[in-house]
Subunit: 175 residues, 2 copies
């Protein structure tokens, strides 16, 4: 009766909060919400596909104070980026594994909203889940709105999950 599982793609990213090397509040919130409200006890009915898009500029921000003296230094930087991305995905994959939900995870580099829509086209999930900070129009100007862009342009249904108000950090642009 059940057939192929419903394939849910989730865009996940790192927290922007300094010294908090984890999934962003909105990614984690969207993930937990999806488990609780969509997957529920039907763990074999769904497969989660985690896409993390690394933004070259953003990820390279800490390198402002770095000195590159050899090709080796660049290689180290790239390895560190890779390690951070892998660490992020490990969180989600481990959680799925614990719950017996099948999943896949991968990393892309580029502009998140464009990479997400591109990967939707390639992978053809049943739907896409994107977390959102849920900022007001003024705050939005500065941070872009991946979720809005995807809801409009992704070639599949899109579930937009705003961050819970009681989970917003001191600076709501942080996540």
């Amino acid at each position: 009766m059940e057939g192929e599982p419903t394939r849910i793609m989730m865009g996940v990213n790192e927290s922007t909060i300094k010294g908090y090397p984890h999934a962003s509040i909105s990614s984690k919130g969207a993930f937990e919400w999806t488990l609780q409200k969509i997957v529920r006890s039907n763990t074999s009915g769904f497969k989660l596909l985690f896409l993390h898009v690394q933004v070259p500029d953003e990820d390279g921000f800490d390198d402002m104070d770095s000195i590159y003296a050899s090709p080796e230094d660049f290689k180290n930087m790239k390895n560190r980026d890779r390690a951070r991305g892998t660490h992020l995905l490990e969180f989600f994959v481990t959680r799925c594994h614990e719950m017996g939900i099948s999943c896949e995870a991968w990393i892309k580099r580029g502009d998140p909203k464009e990479e997400i829509c591109h990967e939707v086209k390639r992978v053809q999930p049943d739907f896409l889940v994107v977390g959102s900070r849920g900022l007001g129009p003024f705050q939005r100007v500065f941070v872009g709105t991946v979720s809005e862009f995807c809801a409009k342009h992704a070639e599949c249904p899109v579930l937009t999950i705003k961050r819970r108000a009681d989970e917003a950090p001191q600076d709501p642009v942080d996540d």
Copy 2:
């Protein structure tokens, strides 16, 4: 383990196609998709809440050629509107009943995007499903975009489901 069912609110509307007194293509598509991809075999894990917002102007369009000669004429018109709304909801409720999914349905009058967000606030569903014609920016100017407004303003997660390209009618503004 399962606890309370996940309460899904769906905004549904009538087709705009003349002589086609049924649910719109995008409403029906979003509903069938939700059953197939979210509810799946877990029929006791979900409860569907159908909200139909009747637009006074739109619903009164056919009355351009009508003549009102007595209070009775207005009452007849209102009864006819009510009958149409009830007929629409009956389609969804019957389908849920057949599948053993619990549901509720009701009608409001007003501006769809505002009534939907208002009802979300009042009823507090776990998430909201809205179908969308999936029109391009040019076509959108003329028809408004309930789904975009709700994705931004509704106080719950929002799942936007575009109409399938192969189901678009001759005039894509129709639905």
